[in-house]
């Protein structure tokens, strides 16, 4: 270490590789003092202006704040608070464009200054040397100080290192060719800067303090020399001017000859570096209790009439500073925040000054011309010669273009400090740094994704293991229960006999049912599809009516009502449907009382249908568990006893259904209105949307809860389908009616039926449930696609038709899942269900194709 100091005292320094000498443009602002600008009309304070986490907001719109009052508080170590730069009112807290190359918006506090500039209460510290380390660090943290050189790393974290510090390096190099903010600060506030350095000295207790400054700032060097005369510990190191001397790693190399190993903080080498601006802010914070609310900003560039360094309050919009420095109206605005080598261009001038803003550059077009056209790399190698990190920029560029992240990592892309020296010298004008930035962002993103994927995999595996465990436990339980029952039945008691007879009765019922079903099927095989459906409906109807009719328990009256409503709705809907299809098979629905409904009522009917549907679903949901209960006690399934929970569920379902119905009604209503308003000729519109979820809760010996679930799912599926279909037809009509001048007759008949008959199953596994759901989802998706198809077709046709348009789209999607019959064959059931779904799918497709063809030909 002595040798380092010896060398420094002799004025000999090390060198870093490469570096460039861009034209010095500091003369624009070096000869003028720092000016204080007028108060802007509003201040925009992004709540995060540093690297790390944002603080927590502690003010709300409308609050009056005093100058220096904190606006956010810190809850995590990496957070840094922000403070009100002047007194005023919080106008709003909103997303505002921030000082970031992306030009994205982030949460900001908008402060309206009242012009009084009233301070909060401050506690001036006369003698900071009496304060202990922790108090000092706390003061720095509370003052919201983050590295002011450009990166914005929280200062209190950086100075609170446990490592033993040999060198505290103060970065006063300021190597960017335009910026003079630190230069002016050192000239005008050298004493304060040195005070700040001494505070850091007290906190870090380094062996030596080195101030690294480039030899192009003679006045600042004089000012500092004057201040540090009596301190032997502080060494002023005047280093040759070369870009990027101000880079942390480069300055460390120049002053100490050490290289910071890749991916390691300098503190591991016993080195901490701070910017002069930060030192000044620390002195202000500790001595005069002034948080970081303003900073020196170099407003420069040949486009400005009065380029100058200014004291800008944080949050001052750039527009205000440009006006102060007389920025003329220009056709093409090129405004850069930061220096010309590492700054970023701004998409508008509402961007606020933040803690890291050291320069606003408004160059003339001659000064910094538009980027030249990039041409092919000729491998001249000049980039590698100037790279201060000794990378191979051209090879990196090829791999970046090829998105070869492996090679990029191998070539140490992440050691690139993005200084821009390579792109500066490139004769082919390749924006090398931009390629590196994009690649870095992509690689980082990919790493995050990889981590996320790994986590997802672990969670998935954990879940699978859990499900497996649960399943085993359930099977175990079932087995035990079955054994217990068998034991009971074999015991020969009266109860056991009763149970036996109940089972026998159930079996008989099952057989009867089967016979009946096969009969029905024999009848309907020759009938058309419609009548088949009608038949199924009728069956359900009859059954439901039968179920609810003899039910006279006082507690069940709600259910009765519901059942009655269903019956009514069913009837109505059926009637509506029948009208549409004249070929109704009356003998199949003779169990139902049919009320004739007029054609105009179809809207009403539809709404009713929706309500009924929802109700049916709910009922089904309720009935299943009650079935389980009744069967177990050996009673007939007609008696339904519902628990309080069921009632609640029912209410929720009803509410949902109602909402759905309302929406549907609204849709159709608005359609009709439009139709009437615009159609000049007679318009006849018939929309038949029928979705029926008919659930037949059969008489089983013991149904597991899965059946219940299945039924509910089926109902939900049917509902969703109906909704979508309704929406589709609705929009169709809209378009049709809007353009049709002649009479338009549009019939979109969409019938989606999910008939789920879970019958006679003794034990259904959870797998069945899943399969059924998949099948339902498939059917749903198909129906959706079809509807979309029909939709577009109709649009095409309607768009051109000026004469009468007659369009009939019949889309029938039927997901007919009949898991019937067998007593304990889940695998077969499952297969059947799948086949049925596939058949329904195929049918739907065919129909859709036909409809399409029809439309095209018409």
């Amino acid at each position: 270490m002595e040798t380092v100091i010896e060398r420094i005292e002799q004025g000999r320094f090390w060198q870093f590789h490469g570096g460039i000498h861009p034209p010095e443009m500091k003369f624009l602002t070096t000869n003028k003092p720092i000016r204080t600008v007028s108060l802007p009309q509003r201040l925009v304070l992004p709540i995060q202006q540093h690297i790390g986490e944002a603080g927590e907001l502690i003010v709300k719109p409308g609050d009056y704040v005093l100058k220096g009052q904190p606006l956010t508080k810190t809850t995590v170590p990496l957070a840094v608070p922000i403070h009100a730069p002047t007194s005023g009112t919080i106008a709003s807290i909103e997303n505002h464009i921030i000082a970031h190359p992306s030009g994205l918006n982030e949460m900001s506090v908008i402060l309206m200054p009242d012009g009084e500039d009233r301070w909060r209460e401050r506690h001036i510290v006369e003698n900071y040397s009496q304060l202990d380390k922790n108090t000092l660090v706390e003061k720095i943290a509370n003052a919201g100080i983050a590295g002011m050189g450009g990166a914005g790393f929280p200062t209190h974290i950086k100075v609170n290192t446990k490592a033993k510090i040999d060198f505290l390096i103060i970065n006063a190099a300021e190597c960017e060719p335009y910026i003079t903010a630190d230069d002016l600060l050192m000239r005008e506030h050298a004493a304060s800067v040195i005070e700040g350095i001494k505070i850091l000295d007290k906190i870090l207790e380094p062996a030596f303090i080195l101030i690294g400054i480039e030899d192009n700032k003679p006045e600042a060097i004089d000012a500092l020399n004057h201040e540090i005369k009596q301190f032997d510990k502080i060494k002023l190191c005047v280093v040759p001017t070369k870009y990027p001397t101000g880079g942390e790693k480069q300055l460390i190399k120049i002053l100490t000859g050490k290289e910071v190993p890749s991916g390691v903080l300098p503190s591991s080498l016993g080195i901490v570096m701070q910017n002069v601006g930060t030192c000044h802010a620390i002195a202000e914070a500790v001595i005069s209790d002034t948080p970081l609310i303003k900073r020196v900003v170099t407003v420069t560039g040949q486009a400005l009439e009065k380029p100058q360094n200014v004291w800008a309050l944080l949050g001052t919009p750039i527009e205000h500073l440009l006006q102060e420095c007389q920025y003329p109206q220009q056709q093409k605005r090129h405004i850069i925040m930061g220096g010309p080598m590492m700054g970023f261009s701004l998409p508008n001038t509402q961007v606020p000054v933040v803690k890291t803003t050291n320069c606003i550059l408004a160059p003339s077009e001659k000064e910094i011309p538009d980027a030249n056209q990039e041409i092919e790399c000729i491998r001249c190698g000049q980039c590698a010669e100037v790279c201060p990190a000794q990378l191979l920029p051209q090879e990196l560029q090829w791999h970046a273009k090829a998105k070869d992240s492996e090679q990029l990592t191998k070539l140490n892309l992440f050691d690139c400090i993005e200084c821009g020296a390579c792109a500066y010298v490139c004769p082919s004008h390749i924006p090398l740094v931009h390629y590196y930035r994009v690649s870095k962002a992509e690689i980082r993103q990919q790493k995050l994704l990889d981590i996320k994927a790994e986590k997802a995999k672990q969670r998935f595996e954990a879940r699978k293991a859990r499900l497996e465990r649960d399943k085993k436990a359930r099977e175990e339980k079932h087995k035990k229960a079955a054994e217990a029952r068998r034991a009971r039945m074999n015991s020969g008691t009266e109860e056991a006999n009763k149970e036996k007879s109940a089972v026998a009765a159930a079996l008989a019922r099952v057989q009867a049912k089967k016979a009946q079903q096969s009969g029905v099927q024999a009848n309907t095989t020759n009938d058309d599809k419609k009548s088949q459906v009608a038949d199924a409906i009728a069956r359900a109807k009859a059954k439901k009516a039968g179920q609810s009719a003899p039910n006279g328990d006082a507690g069940d009256d709600k259910k009765q009502q519901v059942a009655a409503a269903i019956a009514r709705a069913k009837a109505k809907k059926l009637a509506a449907k029948e009208q549409a299809n004249d070929d109704s098979a009356e003998e199949n629905i003779n169990a139902v009382e049919t009320k004739p409904t007029s054609a105009q009522d179809d809207k009403k009917a539809r709404v009713a249908a929706a309500v009924a549907r929802a109700k049916a679903k709910k009922l089904a949901a309720q009935e299943q568990p009650s079935d389980v209960g009744t069967d177990d006690t050996g009673k007939s399934p007609e008696t339904i006893s519902s628990t309080a929970e069921d009632a609640k569920k029912a209410r929720i379902a009803a509410a949902v259904a109602k909402a759905k119905a309302k929406k549907l009604a609204a849709n159709t209503e608005s359609d009709d209105q439009r139709t009437e308003g615009e159609a000049e000729a007679s318009t006849k519109d018939k929309d038949d949307v029928m979705a029926e979820a008919i659930v037949e809760p059969p008489q089983e010996t013991s149904t597991s809860t899965q059946d219940d679930k299945k039924a509910r799912i089926a109902a939900a599926v049917a509902k969703a389908k109906a909704k979508k279909l309704a929406a589709n037809t609705g929009s169709d009509d809209q378009r049709t009616e809007g353009e049709a001048e002649a009479s338009t007759k549009d019939k979109a008949e969409v019938t989606a039926e999910a008939v789920v008959e879970p019958m006679q199953e003794t034990s259904t596994s959870a797998q069945d449930d899943k399969k059924a759901r998949i099948a339902a989802a498939v059917a749903k998706a198909k129906a959706k696609k079809q509807a979309a198809n029909a939709d577009t077709d109709v649009k095409q046709v309607e768009g051109e038709a000026k004469a009468s348009t007659k369009d009939k789209t019949n889309v029938t999607a039927e997901a007919d899942v009949e898991a019937a019959g067998e007593t304990s064959t889940s695998a077969q059931d499952d297969k059947k269900a799948r086949i049925a779904a596939a058949v329904a799918k195929a049918k739907a497709k065919k129909l859709a194709e036909k409809a399409q063809k029809d439309n095209q030909t018409s």
Binding site: P101, R333, P340, A371, C377, G381, Y424
Partner: protein, 349 residues
């Protein structure tokens, strides 16, 4: 009013690749003038032919590849290639030699590999080697310097020879090359090589009229002129000094050792430096960035290898000069050299 969005750095040196190429072309002028002085109009005509062909070929391929013709046609790289071909081809070679050479260099060696920046071989040297292998007779038709010829060769006669193989007076190239004593004169390198294979010593070979007072008549001055152009390029920072320095040092060391071992069968170091295409290769061909190594260390290795190969091929190879072969072999080795001469990144071991 619009805002201008760009990525940093925003300022930039205003040098361009085309300017660099142009500078290199200008730097060949002293050498070309020397060639003109000693060999007449031949090479100038060859350069003209090659340039026109190269530009036409470049235009055709660029338009086929749907590239920006305006930008790329005049970026100077095609013209530079053509100039180098024109310089290396024997002054009195038939017209189709340079046309074929330029066509091959541009269309196949350069554009077929992806255009500027993507060609693994130096186009001019690849074309030269192709011509040398395909048309050995035409490619070794180097005439003696004008001062040694007994026929006057003015511009019109040269043109006539190039296009018709005969001067206006009806002399063929062979006749033009024949010395007044009745033997055909070749280049100094050729002369020495022939003499050595015939069992003569170097000293005896050096008595040939084409060698003249120092190393060779004409050729030494042409090499000196290219050296001058090279210094201009180094001064202008268009090329780095390491490549030519390493190349010339390598040749010097190799030939010095050989000369020390057996002065009778090896020519002197200066003869190697100032004959053939040594200086042209050192400053104008090996410094081609596209087909060379990139890092400083890599360039030193690359050029040293080239120098070694030049010496070996000149001494043991079948052809008298070796720069073109050496350059091509080194081009092949360049990626490997790059691989092993990567600099240590800051902060890495």
């Amino acid at each position: 009013m619009a805002y201008w969005i760009a990525s940093s750095p925003h300022n930039h040196i205003q040098d361009k690749t085309s300017a660099l190429m142009r500078l290199v072309i200008y730097a060949t002028i002293p050498g070309i003038i020397a060639q003109w002085y000693f060999f007449g109009w031949g090479n100038l005509i060859q350069i003209g032919l090659a340039t026109v062909t190269a530009l036409i070929a470049e235009f055709l391929v660029l338009s086929l590849r749907e590239k920006n013709i305006k930008e790329q046609l005049f970026d100077g790289s095609a013209i530079l290639t053509a100039v180098l071909i024109g310089i290396s081809i024997p002054a009195l070679a038939p017209w189709w030699v340079s046309v074929l050479g330029a066509l091959f260099a541009i269309a196949i060696v350069k554009q077929l590999y992806g255009g500027l920046g993507h060609n693994p071989f130096n186009p001019a040297m690849a074309a030269y080697v192709m011509l040398l292998i395909s048309f050995p007779v035409q490619m070794t038709l180097w005439q003696p310097p004008l001062s040694l010829m007994h026929h006057q060769l003015d511009f019109v006669n040269t043109l006539s020879v190039i296009f018709t193989n005969f001067t206006l007076d009806g002399y063929s190239v062979e006749q033009l090359r024949t010395h007044i004593d009745g033997f055909t004169m070749a280049t100094p390198l050729d002369t020495v090589k022939t003499a050595l294979t015939m069992g003569k010593t170097v000293e005896e070979a050096m008595t040939s009229p084409v060698i003249g007072e120092y190393f060779s008549v004409g050729w030494q001055w042409i090499n000196a002129a290219f050296l001058l152009g090279g210094f201009v390029l180094i001064y202008k920072k268009a090329i780095s000094w390491v490549t030519p320095a390493s190349f010339l040092a390598s040749i010097f060391v190799c030939s010095f050792i050989a000369f020390m071992v057996s002065p009778d069968t090896n020519t002197s170091t200066m003869f190697h430096w100032f004959s053939g295409a040594t200086m042209l290769g050192a400053f104008f061909i090996l410094t081609d960035p596209v087909s060379g190594a990139t890092s400083v260390k890599g360039r030193i290795v690359f050029a040293a290898l080239a120098g070694f190969l030049v010496f070996i091929i000149r001494k043991y190879g079948g052809y008298p000069d070796a720069v073109a072969f050496a350059v091509l072999l080194c081009n092949m080795a360049a990626p490997l050299i790059d691989q092993f001469t990567r600099p240590r990144t800051y902060g890495h071991q």
